[in-house]
Symmetry: D2
Subunit: 345 residues, 4 copies
């Protein structure tokens, strides 16, 4: 079986994670090409990861006749166009989340994807490929928790990055706390419940850095959602967890409850010291979801090999972005937002 | 020092807890009288707890010249009138929560209480006297968590009581899930943050017993609140925790987070068996708050002896009831409710 | 029912715990007399606890015609003689552990106790009255763990007391680490297994304070024991737990395992801060066993009232002391010690 | 860089783990040959893992001129001879533990290994390559726990395998509980403390299957060890953990304690159900040490590529086997065993 030849665009923090995983932890795949406008990143790809072709522009890379697929890890705004371009060139596409920032743009992208059903498209909702989330999903699908009534998702970045966020908050728009931080959580809500969001109310507070009020950004926010079948969803998003990278999901059902990462335990070590009984914590997403990133890339390759579409679809990307936009609208308007009257952003 | 002579009204489940605590675990207090219209309960008070006087009606009991104070554990609807009557008779009063069900009635009661500042009035928000909550409160007040941004409170009753609740749901009105279950949580939100609630949205879902829809009751509900300084509060209330009595409180601050009873651990035992690694759980409020009930009664007596008012005031009772009513209005109207335009129930 | 009048001897740290419990948390008991050669302690007993009679010598106190019982919390060396004296005066006796330091002396004491079967004698193995230990014991007795194969007991004092221990280590003999620290653990081994110890090997290491070698004291020690039915017992005793007061007990059975206080959790709070996910810890025995001390005193009074002997007997005291002595002999001789050839100390 | 060509001998349960890891998770390695006397296993290696050469006998495989290295996962008794043969053929060798069952045989093997210092030899003490153990080791080496005083290691197999063990216990000799189960734990003791074992006492009990007494096997055993610097080590080994695969290690130091896998948590999920608050558990070694097995194989390849010997040496294998033999001698003779007078088995 010949290897699937992959070109990657974007070699930032997450891009490097994907590039290494393709090169070293995805049997059946070959990291063949890399695209970045930063020379050092291309050098890294060549020297450390053995990439054969390097490109300064995405358009050139997708024109390479040697590629089977692209992995898109560029800034979010570029996703829709890059997806469309690759699909139209006949390539399989793995794109990081979000699929796009604007609904119309995403819908246009979905049309292109749908027009090429023989090509694989996968969106980087890697949590679905995390061992703990899969264990939870299995329990839910087997009915072990009964019918779900409440889903609670926390996504809180470590404090270590907050100062830098505040510094650049005015200059570049994050898309808002919920689009930036909660898109994975929104996907989890939909994945676990198989329901769409009907209404949402979102609020926030800037306490450590009140100056964020001026640039319409949030340090910490909360959203409550009613799903179509009245299941409740609660989201907390933040950028200021002193203890590390706090991604936690709770499922409350009629027969039981379940928490994924009630504490973001780094490993199996417990320390007993002058602070008390301490569990060390995960500090960032590459650490916490190290295996999930590998698993999703292996799934992408398996889908190509086995000619089947992955569980995560472009439609999932559209729906989660819609909810994130609704959250932001709720913050902006201070009102309950009905998803079906959502004004396009 | 002579003992404070106490008359108790109500000897149901919680009434018995208070009666025993007064009789056996409150040095300086004497359980002198008991009032109930159930003969067996009065026999119990006489024979098991050594009560001197027993009464069929509250009016007779508060006329006894031997009493210093009353402890009110009657059904919620009787609280305001019984409080007023005792205060006007010159007695100190400890009343179970809620202080009342209707705002006007409560306000009238507060007037009477305020007119007798030399008499002690205390409301049974016993969680404030729980060791773990006091530890948390101290950390918050010392600034160890920084400024609070999110408070999350869960109050979920064990599944064991649900069937019986459903059976009687049509016959007697619980006052609604939030009034019934969340009043302690609302008090905790106010206590920890020192802020009042501004707006609230509350939703619910009946999944195990959809027939509750017809009688306008809820099995599980969630409320999100914005406080005056934009602090966020999240409440989940329910009647269906398979694992026991789940009362949990989370405080997220700019410097750290804290959870009280992230798991409702029954004791210090961990069992390793075919189910996995298991922490047994508290099964009900008398178990979970056993010490807190003793502590609050001791505090009531200390306040009488030391002629000082307790930390928990009648005003706290008013405010928490207002928020509970707002939650129910939100469920009924499906709208965001602003507390300052709260239509009186 | 008239109160049981109690005289206490010894008002040190643990003496004060017992004195307060008798005075305030033991309905049916009255702290009537106190004996100490320290004037301040007697003043405390009179002023804070309302003691009626105070004594400088134990002999005078037990001659008081007003007493029903004595509670002995004097230094361990005095226990046997004080027990005998009180028993011979017709008093009920609660004595702190150990029942004595030398086997012959204890045996003589047991003879006196046995000669007065109508008087209650109880030894202060308070762990048996701790809620978590009782929960564990019930599980064992109900067979939920199957047959026990291993019991592991840790008793490690907090580091905070170590420096002071080292300072006075030469001057006063602690009786050795195992007699000083493990007597409760030895009792737990016997209580849970209903077996006697056959053989023991004990070792130790002084790492923080190697100078303890010179005075034949141990900072940290371990003992392994074979019981009569081949059940294994493992003890770790120490004086240097950075995180607090670490008393942990593990039971391994053919059907499951169980740990009491796998972590010495102080309360139900979990803190998430820069150290990780932290459970605060108990810092000392009065804190950890606060309720157990109350429970055992209530049991002592109940035994007097109901004319029945408590579960903890003088024989339990003898047997646990024998094992502690065997541990020390093993450390001294560097050999396996057979309990049935134990040379009397 | 050309791939390191590997031949594997033994394709049982653990053999398959290694074979898959070499084939799929070890960049730079190629699973080139496989040796087994079971035809199905060779078919599996060819069809599932793409092995080029298959062999019925080890001697033939090591004669293949295409191999760079062998991975030995055959029954323990074959290890020494197979190691020597491969080394003498100029191959690098990775051998599963134990390095051998008899001391003389191991010493002879070490001579051969030492005579070929340019060839890599690595022993499969995979726990050293587990993330949690590495985290613990780093803390120890950085002095965060101070000087170690006690090391406690539990290695208990799940109950699910016990019945089958009992069935075959008479027929094939396991080498004894400690050789079979504790060799990894003994290595951990030596690794963490950098000390050798001086004396050991080991005992055991057969409670679920007393018939094991007759075939001189143990269901559950415990060993206590004194190391050269008086550090204490405690081992519990067993075949009957109801909750799963319990491998736990505790390090007690003068500045703090640490536990690796205090509970053998399967993942980050916590379930709240009718059993209480439940953490699911690892069920077997391939699950628990899945990543560690990959890491050690990658380290083996890295050592070959970088021409350096791994941290785990043949000498470590010798020393751990000596201690396991001493444990068994202690069980057999019911005596303390001094390692320096250890009679060769």
């Amino acid at each position: 079986m010949t290897s699937i030849k992959i070109g990657i665009v974007g070699l930032g923090r997450l891009g490097k994670v994907h590039a290494k995983n393709i090169a070293k932890h995805t049997p059946g795949a070959e990291l063949y090409a890399a695209c970045s406008f930063i020379e050092e990143e291309l050098e890294f790809a060549k020297n450390e990861l053995g990439v054969t072709e390097t490109y300064k522009t995405y358009e050139e890379m997708v024109d390479s006749l040697n590629l089977d697929a692209v992995v898109i890890v560029s800034p979010s705004g570029f996703h829709p166009e890059q997806i469309r371009l690759a699909i139209e060139k006949g390539l399989h596409v793995f794109s990081e989340k979000p699929i796009g920032l604007e609904i119309e743009d995403i819908e246009k992208t979905i049309e292109v994807i749908d027009a090429h059903p023989e090509q694989i498209f996968m969106l980087g909702f890697m949590r679905r490929y995390d061992e703990s989330y899969q264990y939870a999903k299995k329990m839910v699908d087997e009915g072990q928790l009964g019918e779900l009534t409440v889903v609670r998702c926390y996504g809180i970045d470590p404090s270590s990055g907050l100062e830098s966020f505040v510094k650049f908050a005015g200059a570049s728009n994050s898309g808002g706390l919920f689009a930036d931080m909660s898109i994975h959580d929104i996907d989890l809500v939909r994945w676990f419940t198989k329901q769409e969001v009907s209404r949402v109310w979102a609020i926030g507070k800037n306490a450590a850095y009140p100056e964020l009020d001026k640039v319409n950004e949030l340090e910490t926010g909360a959203a409550m959602m009613q799903l179509e079948d009245r299941t409740m969803a609660i989201l907390v998003a933040g950028r200021n967890a002193a203890h590390g990278y706090h991604v936690e999901t709770e499922l409350i059902g009629t027969k039981g409850m379940l928490r994924v990462a009630a504490a973001p335990e780094k490993n199996l070590v417990t320390v007993f010291d002058e602070h008390g009984v301490v569990r060390p914590t995960s500090q960032n997403f590459p650490e916490r979801f190290s295996e999930a990133f590998k698993n999703e890339m292996n799934e992408f390759i398996a889908c190509i090999q086995e000619k089947r579409q992955p569980e995560v679809s472009a439609y999932d990307g559209l729906q989660s972005t819609k909810v994130a936009i609704a959250c932001q609208q709720s913050v902006d308007t201070k009102q309950l937002i009905d998803l079906d009257v959502l004004v396009k952003a």
